[in-house]
Subunit: 166 residues, 2 copies
């Protein structure tokens, strides 16, 4: 095993009962600390603003509530992110024809430009993060993670008694 690159206490935690939760938390907390700082400093926006821009660019005309199905964040977080993107001129909204409550969202060309920059950087970060794995291992890891994501209890725990908010 590749414990040697990790410090002693960390290796102990990753050998305990909660090793899986601890390990994925470690990876994501560590990665977020690095990535969020980069985005917040370089682009002066919260990470969720860039996530929302990504979704809007990828799915032109997407509604705010649909973004939540891609990035499981509270409703007000998405609302504020969109407000910021509009204020900066990265996103414009067209009113929905069928429902006056909905906002249909589109990236502006400036929004697309800045998103392309950030996406390019994210790709390099992704490559860096997964560099310890071979291409085959990456595929395998992705497939297994996909199974977890597709599980019914990721967003709605039975054992923790969660019900949806927002």
């Amino acid at each position: 095993m590749s414990y040697m690159a990790l410090n002693e206490k960390l290796a102990t935690v990753f050998a305990g009962d909660l090793r899986e939760l601890m390990l994925i938390s470690y990876i994501v907390l560590g990665n977020n600390a690095v990535t969020n700082r980069f985005i917040e400093r370089g682009y002066e926006m919260p990470v969720h603003a860039w996530s929302s821009l990504y979704a809007i660019d990828r799915f032109p005309g997407i509604r705010a509530k649909e973004i939540r199905t891609i990035f499981p964040r509270p409703q007000n977080t998405i609302s504020r992110a969109i407000g910021l993107l509009e204020k900066r001129g990265y996103v414009r909204q067209g009113a929905s024809e069928s429902d006056g409550r909905e906002k249909r969202l589109f990236a502006t060309s400036e929004g697309q430009r800045i998103l392309a920059e950030m996406t390019a950087m994210s790709l390099r970060r992704q490559a860096e993060l997964f560099a310890p794995l071979t291409a085959e291992e990456r595929d395998r890891f992705f497939g297994l993670a996909l199974k977890i994501a597709a599980g019914q209890n990721l967003l709605h725990s039975v054992v923790l008694g969660s019900d949806d908010a927002g």
Copy 2:
């Protein structure tokens, strides 16, 4: 592939260039939303307080700064979490004999009691989260994730130009 349980937009994102980053973000954001709400509501403490308690119980006499190597969070976050745990009587500190600046931390019996409760719940949550995988797949997933965690660039990105803060 098990895309069918995911909605159409999500499946599209998980087929794009940034699929790996998007997928692990999705899993962890989704899981955190559920778990954090449970801990914050049930125990009225931020998640990092329970993480710190876990570390202190597991490594009696640990110093505050060492907790950061297990849970990669900013220094002040850990400091506040420990303050809360002390105020609640879950943790006591003995002064270090060798260095007057250090706090050596120990869980009280009440701290151990409440931690045992939370750990039991976390174990059930872990089982729920990984239920879509077979035992063998879980092991394989864990091994691959461990390789990622042991990579040199998880906490210190070259491409994002990160340097350590805190």
